[in-house]
């Protein structure tokens, strides 16, 4: 009797908790979409030209014309933050989506077919995990000579292993379920079984992991640009803006603080979203 009552209470608590989490997720999705829109159109709606060097307006404090002030070349910091948003955010999204896709495909092949292919791919993931990810990314991006694509490639080289291992273990546990056996007995091809019966079961956990990786990916791409081996210098990007402006931090702190705040806000929104999605999935 008491046990019954308690489990009912627990169910009610869980339900209301889930409701709160869902509301939070909707709010965060709206915020993330706003950020994505800003990042998408940011480069076209800047109040000033983000690349115009202005010798008279060097290191000017925030004013009505330059909302976040100007940097040591007299460029509008606000315009540069807006123009740089796309590089960082869409770069990170592209990185997450491509690594998740590659990892899922390879992980499915490994888990479903097993054998030599599985062994080879798993040894490669072991090898990738033996390198600290950022160290490998710095070396690859640095030797390749910088640029956004090289930075994404450098981070992606080891990024896919996370999804590959996750998907592989999920596929291995699913493929012995009786409904898969039934599908096989009724003459479904491997491709049909994978696409219709296995992928729908694992796509949820891949998405949860991918969402939690967005914030980290933004930090990585901005970090490589900060080191000068990501997005190249004249192109506005948050990490490289901080690096350019930190030398003149004493005179123009706003040129550092604005991109720092932009990174912080963006990463917070995506990290919050990742946490919430994971809580809901649990």
């Amino acid at each position: 009797m008491t046990v019954n009552k308690r489990s009912k209470q627990n169910k009610a608590v869980n339900k209301s908790r889930k409701k709160i989490l869902m509301t939070r997720l909707y709010v965060l999705i709206v915020l993330a979409v706003i950020l994505l829109i800003i990042a998408g159109i940011g480069a076209f709606v800047t109040p000033n030209d983000p690349y115009k060097i202005n010798a008279i307006m060097m290191k000017k404090a925030p004013s009505s014309e330059f909302i976040f002030g100007t940097d040591s070349y007299g460029r509008c910091v606000c315009s540069r933050v807006l123009a740089g948003a796309g590089m960082t955010i869409y770069g990170a999204l592209f990185l997450v989506i491509s690594t998740a896709t590659v990892g899922t495909v390879l992980g499915t092949i490994c888990g479903y077919y097993g054998g030599v292919v599985d062994t080879v791919i798993m040894r490669i993931t072991d090898l990738m995990l033996a390198f600290p990810q950022m160290v490998l990314a710095i070396a690859v991006a640095g030797l390749a000579g910088g640029g956004l694509w090289n930075a994404i490639l450098a981070l992606g080289i080891s990024g896919w292993t996370l999804y590959c291992r996750l998907v592989r273990s999920r596929v291995m546990s699913i493929k012995h379920e009786s409904y898969i056996l039934a599908a096989r007995l009724s003459g479904c091809s491997d491709l049909k079984i994978i696409v219709s019966y296995i992928l729908p079961m694992i796509v949820g956990s891949v998405v949860v992991n991918a969402v939690t990786q967005i914030g980290t990916s933004i930090i990585w791409i901005a970090g490589l640009s900060f080191l000068g081996i990501g997005v190249r210098a004249p192109q506005a990007e948050w990490g490289s803006m901080i690096n350019e402006a930190r030398g003149a931090m004493q005179l123009a702190p706003w040129a550092v603080i604005a991109p720092c705040a932009a990174i912080f806000i963006t990463v917070t929104v995506f990290n919050c979203m990742g946490d919430t999605v994971r809580d809901i999935a649990d």
Binding site: D126, L127, F131, V135, A139, G142, G215, P253, F264
Partner: protein, 302 residues
């Protein structure tokens, strides 16, 4: 372990081998020799760059085993010798950071779990969330602004003195301890939710006793793994922090080598980081199986 190490060395070698740019050209131009086809060919011949890939790799691999990482393309000094002292300084930085973050995160997680959802727990969760969303370079730039420009308390350039270490260590430790806190807290909470804890509570044991006697022991093994894995993040993060504070560690050396296109030094850097990281993880695996003998039997059963 040995096949893995061959893999690591192979990938490290491949990394530089496929890089656009010619090592012989680089070496000659840094020595101030006029570039001509003859001098280039002679240098290539001398450096063995004309040999097949696999021979070059084998040669390099065996010299690495003897502790010879080749010579720097920039100044001709042996890479192993050039890397040794900065590597030691990076290890000091990393170990100090690890000590600070472990202390902070452990104490905070312990107190948070003791009174879950209490005031302290909530405050710590917000703080850890904030620092989890701040990259190390943002933290360090902000700390620099606060402590070097606003209050002139610490030097901007860290040359290894005790005072100069404070900001680099803090810049690395704050984001890391935020991550540790979140992971330690969830590991400890998972342990708290187990049946034996409510049984101990029913027997009238104090929360504090249960925490120190049982929960910490149960959560110790996963915590060790978390710390081992974080060592990789730490090595990557120290490249950024060392560059910012001009700390003469291996990360700064690597960044300088990248801008000089000094391939052999970059190669040495990657190889050393991967070696240290794999050794640390091997060590944590061993400690884990000592702390939690189930892992061993699981592996045997499989």
């Amino acid at each position: 372990m040995i096949p893995l190490y061959i893999g690591i060395s192979f990938l490290t070698f491949l990394l530089v081998y496929v890089t656009p740019g010619d090592a012989a050209e680089k070496k000659l131009s840094s020595q101030g020799v006029a570039l001509s086809q003859e001098t280039l060919d002679a240098a290539r011949e001398k450096m063995g760059l004309n040999r097949p890939f696999i021979v070059q790799y084998g040669d390099w691999f065996f010299s690495v085993l003897r502790g010879d990482l080749g010579d720097s393309l920039k100044d001709g000094r042996p890479v192993a010798e050039k890397v040794m002292a900065p590597f030691g300084r990076t290890m000091i930085l990393s170990l100090l950071t690890l000590a600070v973050s472990l202390t902070l995160a452990f104490a905070a997680a312990f107190l948070s779990v003791l009174r879950k959802s209490g005031f302290f727990d909530r405050v710590m969760r917000v703080i850890s969330f904030i620092f989890n969303s701040l990259p190390g370079f943002v933290v360090s730039v902000l700390l620099m602004y606060l402590f070097c420009i606003r209050i002139n308390a610490f030097p901007v350039i860290s040359n290894g003195s005790a005072k100069g270490m404070v900001l680099p260590v803090l810049s690395l430790a704050l984001p890391l301890s935020a991550r540790f806190f979140r992971q330690f807290r969830s590991e400890m909470l998972e342990e708290v939710s187990k049946h034996y804890v409510s049984e101990m509570k029913m027997r009238g044991l104090k929360d504090f006793t249960i925490m120190t006697r049982s929960i910490l022991r149960g959560a110790a093994a996963p915590i060790i793994t978390i710390v081992g894995l974080s060592f990789g993040t730490l090595l990557g993060g120290s490249v950024v922090i060392e560059t910012i504070f001009s700390y003469p560690g291996i990360g700064k050396l690597a960044m300088d080598a990248i801008s000089d296109r000094d391939y052999t030094v970059v190669q040495g850097f990657v190889l050393i980081c991967a070696t240290v990281y794999s050794l640390v993880n091997l060590g944590t695996d061993i400690v884990y199986s000592v702390l939690d003998p189930r892992v061993k039997t699981d592996e045997k059963n499989n």
